[in-house]
Symmetry: C2
Subunit: 387 residues, 2 copies
Amino acid sequence: MNVTHLECAACHLEHEARRLLNLCRECGKPLLVRYDLEQAARTLKKESLASRRADLWRYREVLPVENDENIVSLGEGWTPLLRAKNLGKQIGINQLYIKDESQNPTQSFKARGMSAAVSMAKELGAQKLAVPSAGNAAGALAAYAARAGLECFIFMPDDTPRANVVECEQTGAHVTLMAGLITDCGAEVARRKEAEGWFDVSTLKEPYRVEGKKTLGYELAEQFNWELPDVIIYPTGGGTGLIGMWKAFDEMEQMGWIGSERPRMVTVQASGCAPIVRAFESGQRFADEFPNAETVASGLRVPKAIGDFLILDAIRASKGTALAVTDEELIAATGEIGGAEGIFCAPEGAACLPALKKLLAAGEVSKDERMVLFNTGAGVKYLEAFS
Amino acid sequence: MNVTHLECAACHLEHEARRLLNLCRECGKPLLVRYDLEQAARTLKKESLASRRADLWRYREVLPVENDENIVSLGEGWTPLLRAKNLGKQIGINQLYIKDESQNPTQSFKARGMSAAVSMAKELGAQKLAVPSAGNAAGALAAYAARAGLECFIFMPDDTPRANVVECEQTGAHVTLMAGLITDCGAEVARRKEAEGWFDVSTLKEPYRVEGKKTLGYELAEQFNWELPDVIIYPTGGGTGLIGMWKAFDEMEQMGWIGSERPRMVTVQASGCAPIVRAFESGQRFADEFPNAETVASGLRVPKAIGDFLILDAIRASKGTALAVTDEELIAATGEIGGAEGIFCAPEGAACLPALKKLLAAGEVSKDERMVLFNTGAGVKYLEAFS
């Protein structure tokens, strides 16, 4: 195992790695895992990857689990990076790609984070896991907790898509539906967790979901033959995937796999819940809670993200941007992507398309740049959005 | 390309390969693709597979497309074979596995067949594709047709799960919902196809879906390190997967990859629609149409399968069996598998569990045999079954 320690993403205080921890004990911000990358690079070589397992654990040396037996896996990751020629032609982009995360266990990118987090929770002795969720994180936690033999407690808004509720029930989770938003659910977990003995696996409130998610960055690099794309368009709720990719790029540079160039990171949010877009536009490093959050793209209905500064830092450092699209635009985009490429995207993933069109119209991206849209999950889990 | 010809599965009449064909021109039974396997084996070697692409096209030499540019792919196949230790322990089986086909594009095993069939339809010049479907085949055809830029026409019973209807609409298919069953939808396609210029891609009414499905057999062999399991438990509607695996085993034996031993092939159907079980029990080679077919496992609601004799031949040659389970049993099994392993199965896939329990109780399988259950799709596509 190559983990050296945990480090606070804000104040950089070191924390020891082999304990169940949530946030920085000094400043309350997220903890990130640090590795001895020189040691990792001795066995993890670009050339050795081709014959490794077809899931995210192919990057074993830069993942946090010590004992292989604690890995809780359902085959997550190593999803296809699909060339979108038809769609590209329709909108005038020559090298357009879709990273299709709907092909994960539980049909969303949340499987990546939960595979890593539940593996570590198991390794470090947690018995009961709890999470507030807008939907897909709940389904993923329920699945991985079941596979690990751990109990789990799910808190979701009462208007979460029914598919998410049913998948949690069918995989044995304790499900509570609450009036309110994911932030209210998070408050409920925080209020009860000590008395109940729950380990809180909320987005970025434990250090390992982001480790699972960072494999998105490793995969993109490997699938593009170690030359990163020019632009990454990413639908951002809690932002773990974007933060994770940004971390992966740094790790790969330190291992000598890639250079210092980075893709421009573009955050897409829904007009009805766009805290990061607002903060980006107003030059803030932290985002205010977005009032009266509302969008059919349930994964984007995150009015306050604890990793806001990490998202905003990455956008700015990469010379990227943040923009919002309306629910009408993102729902229409679902049919447009589906009809052109046969990929029935989650509404969050579909939101990337109107964002790309706006960037193109504004001259912020050019037709010959290599671009990746992230489809974070399967559209079939959102039937309510298509009625 | 290693295809030599097409051969009727019943009367063995040869047909030429490079034309759009449906059924045998003499006897009206399914056509199967034959290869020069000696030639295929020159470049397709077991040792060369580890570094090949992580989808079913890794078995390129035994797949029918001539020109790589005609391959219509969304990343189908090479799905995980998951060890089910928790579930095995609960029911007293030591080596239990689940092949998780929910991780395909469009969340079901139907993607395999449609990737191959649409690729060939494109290569051979079809413009409009039509299919009757119980649900998931429709979603898969719609997706692959969109990706290929072909028009497609879907006919489904009007009580098909809503997820299947929505996925077809969102990927640009023409959808017609009909009163009746898949057989009625098939009759409608047959009635109109000539006038409309549709190529009929019904199960086993064209030769290539089974070629995509046969990769299930190649994958099992590769994932088990070339030693096939003792028992395969397979939920059977049209039966293409079972027929395809059986074909794959023969091809692999001819290439010298495996010996002559075969797994016992077990067909599972729903009590409300069990034509193969009836025919197996009464010693018939062809199955009568099952009257008043009804089950929540929509993919099993196939009262008459054109490949009936191929399914029954494989069951008998392998010393396997066929048995039915009730809807109550298969729905309960969904929660049981989900709670034990975190896999939210399609009801069809879940049906394998009560079947296995019956076999175990009857002494037809023993606890130390290596067994595989097939989860054919994602449970989230069947919300109606869980209300």
